[in-house]
Every structure is written in C-alpha cells, then in structure tokens.
C-alpha cells in the first residue's frame, strides 16, 4: 500500500495514534512511518497538541518518594560509570520500603503509636506500641516491617542528642543461623550507610558515629539486609533487603 498517497488515511491514523485507539502492530507500524516521514510526524504532533490538553482534567496524584529515588539512582549511576548499580536502582526495592515515610509518619505520632500499613493488601490488625504515660522523649524512631506480611519486626530509636541507637526485636524468628542482619540508613540519593548488626537478643544498642541529630537527621528510611556472618564484606548491602521502614523525628 502506498501510504503516502493517502493523506486522509494518514490524518486519520495520526488522530487515532494521538488518542490512543491505534494499537498493537498497527501502532508499531505507524511509529515506523512516523520516524521515516516528517509530514506524518508533524501530523501526529498536531494531533497530540489538540488532545493532550484533555489531561488537564485528570486529578494530580503525588507519586511516592521512591519513584524519584529510583530515577535519581538510575541517573546517578549513569553519570558515574563505575557505580555499583542494579540492586539499589531497582524500583521494586524502593517499593519494598512498603511504608512510605510521609503518610505513616503522621500516624506514628499518636500517644499510642498506631501503625497503618498501605492500603492494597487486606490490612492486618493495627499494632499499638505502648508508650510511657508521661509521653515519649524527643527521639528518632523507625518501625521496620516485612513488606510481604506488613508485620512490624523491629523498632529502632535514638534520643536526638544521644549516640545510642536502641533496637528492639519484635519477632525473634527473623534471625537466621550463620547469617547476620545488618541495619542500614538510606540517605536520599546516596549509598546506604551501615549502622551495624542487629543482634539476636531482644533489645540491643548500637553506637552511632555522631549524635542522632547528625546521624539520622537526613535519613528518611532504614532497612535491614541479610548478610554473611559478621556483616557485609564490602561496606554496601550485598544480600536481599528483608525489612524496612520510614525513620521519623518525634519531638
């Protein structure tokens, strides 16, 4: 078929391409024509300019922060070629930070701290962490959960001026023989920083390199990865991320 001799047809296809009803193989074929023929490309551009303003009527929805994190990581890893990529660029990983920092953080601030998992799965019963009656001290607080079950497994906290990081294991079954669980701070747009190993005892303390206000002030989330015994040999996470959660400042 000599497509170029049929201006009415290419106008119609351009319109249906821009609207989106041209699909499947016809769409692919048309895209090839578009690349080869500037007149067709211009017809498509004109149609896109006609219909695209309809998108103005779509209600904006703020995407979760992890989308931007993933974009930043992909762009960063491209501009420095040596970068370790793969694991941390993966949107599935950022998605595994199942509790997004913003929404859940507000929910954590009630006197009894209520943890509300994200909507799509049938929600397990909310977990209420008991808080001393006189109220909580100013502190950084993170509740790490298993993205599959959405069950909280660790609570991590530190007084704002303190360099002691307290780790309370809610579910002792998370420990695996001959492996270590390593806790990471996930700064925005940078490589994870190790905070230390999660010991098998119910409650333990790690020492931060500086007071929590410095060490955790810019950290939106924490995560735990599965590592060889003794922790990651490379200084970066090497195993799968098992648990994660937002890190918030409570004051």
């Amino acid at each position: 078929m000599n497509f170029r001799d049929k201006p009415e047809l290419h106008e119609r296809l351009a319109a249906e391409y821009a609207l989106g009803t041209l699909r499947g193989r016809a769409r692919q074929r048309f895209e090839r024509w578009m690349r080869e023929d500037a007149a067709i490309a211009q017809a498509v551009a004109r149609w896109q300019a006609r219909v695209a303003p309809m998108a103005e009527a779509v209600a904006p929805v703020t995407p979760p922060r992890r989308v931007w994190h993933a974009i930043e990581q992909r762009i960063g890893s491209r501009s420095n070629e040596s970068g370790k990529s793969g694991f941390w660029d993966n949107l599935a990983f950022w998605r595994a930070l199942g509790l997004t920092a913003t929404g859940s953080a507000a929910a954590l601030l009630a006197a009894g701290v209520l943890l509300a998992p994200r909507a799509p799965e049938p929600a397990p019963a909310p977990v209420v962490l008991r808080v001393p009656a006189e109220g909580m001290p100013n502190a950084y607080l993170a509740v790490l959960s298993d993205p599959k079950s959405q069950k909280p497994v660790l609570v991590v906290s530190a007084g704002v001026k303190s360099d002691q990081l307290w780790i309370k294991t809610l579910d002792p079954s998370i420990h695996v023989p001959d492996k270590s669980l390593e806790l990471w701070a996930l700064p925005t747009g940078q490589a994870p920083k190790s905070l230390g190993l999660v010991t098998a005892s119910g409650k333990a303390a790690l020492k931060l390199v500086a007071a929590a206000d410095q060490s955790l002030g810019d950290i939106p989330a924490l995560a735990v990865s599965l590592e060889p015994r003794g922790g990651s040999p490379t200084g970066a996470p090497t195993g799968p991320v098992l648990f994660s959660g937002p890190c918030i400042k409570y004051w």
Binding site: A15, L19, T21, G24, A52, P53, V58, T62, R66, L91
Partner: protein, 198 residues
C-alpha cells in the same frame, strides 16, 4: 470584559509561565543538569502520575511507567522542540504512549473485577469537562468536546482517559466494533474542525 474571561486570562498567564519554566528545565536536562530534572519532576510528576494511574490502573505499574518516562525525558530532552507543542503536552504524550505499550504486554489484565473503574469512567454527561474549562490551554478542547454527540464524546473520553482500545470501547459500551470506530473517527474529525475555528 466579564469576570469569566478575566479568570481565563489569569489561567492563561499562569499556564504560560509554567510552560516557559518547564521549557527552560527541559533545556537544562538537555545540558545534563540534574537539578533541572529534579525541579521538572517536582512541577510535573503529580499530573503525569495521575494520567498514568488512570490508564494502567495499578499503583506499582504507574510508578514503573513514571520512572521510565522521566528517564526517557532526561535522555531525550534535547529532542524537545517548542514547535511540537507545549512541554506538558510533549511529556503527557510520552507518558500516554508508554502506558499504551504497557497495556500491550501479554501479562496485562484489566484489574477491574468489581467494575469500580468502569463506574468511575466518564459518562455521557459533560461533568468532567467543567474541570477542563478552568484551564486556559484546555478550554478550547473542553468547548469542542461539549459540541460532540454524547456517544462520540463518551467514546473519545474513554479512549483518552482510560486508554481503551476500539474493542474495549465496544465491550464497555456494548455496541458493535464498527459502530464504536465510527463514533471515534467522526468525533475526532469534528473536534479538529471545531478547534480550527478558534
């Protein structure tokens, strides 16, 4: 000049300055300036995520689409030409294209068992069009959509907003495929004629 057209002029001015800013940011992306992309994302991501979510209907898919599209925008920013339309038009087209590719994947199934999306889809009523009229750039298309026959308008809106193909439109509207194709084709022709009058 009445109050309505004053409001529209203000919307036009606001939109023009947004589009100018977006164009400058695209130029920054073309020079590989990451802060330009960060600002572009801040200004446009909620709108584009809304568009993607409406078509692919799943948060995780829409997030993947959005991520890919911003990488595409970053890598192809140098290809943007003001003659091809406003920056937002260009970016919206990238997102809608990617969504339609996404729906072509063999694993795709429309997750709408309870019919919630179909129920929320635009009806024959021009209700959602009132949103469009507020925007300077979209006022023309809003007016022209209202001038279509209701069936034509409904088919075009379902195709645009929900990414429905001809056969999905036929199933959704319970009409023969040929009938639906004709509504879309005639509707588009009338839209073009109407838009060119302005």
């Amino acid at each position: 000049m009445n109050a309505g057209s004053n409001a529209r002029n203000r919307a036009d001015v606001a939109n023009d300055s947004l589009q100018a800013e977006l164009a400058a940011l695209l130029a920054g992306c073309a020079r590989r300036e990451q802060p330009a992309l960060a600002k572009l994302y801040e200004l446009s991501s909620a709108k584009l995520f809304g568009v993607a979510l409406r078509i692919v209907r799943r948060d995780d898919w829409a997030e993947d689409v959005l991520q890919e599209c911003y990488l595409r925008i970053w890598n192809h920013a140098a290809d943007y030409r003001p003659g091809l339309g406003a920056p937002m038009t260009w970016m919206t087209s990238i997102v809608r294209n990617r969504c339609l590719d996404w729906l072509r994947r063999p694993s795709f199934e429309v997750p709408d068992e309870d019919g919630a999306f179909a129920a929320a889809a635009p009806s024959e009523e021009p209700g959602p069009l009132t949103l469009l009229e507020r925007s300077g750039e979209a006022a023309g298309i809003a007016r022209c959509l209202q001038g279509l026959e209701p069936r034509q308008r409904q088919a075009i809106m379902l195709a645009f907003y929900d990414g429905m193909s001809h056969s999905e439109l036929a199933a959704h509207l319970r009409e023969p495929l040929g009938t639906v194709k004709t509504w879309v084709r005639r509707g588009l022709l009338r839209l073009k004629a109407c838009l060119e009058q302005t």
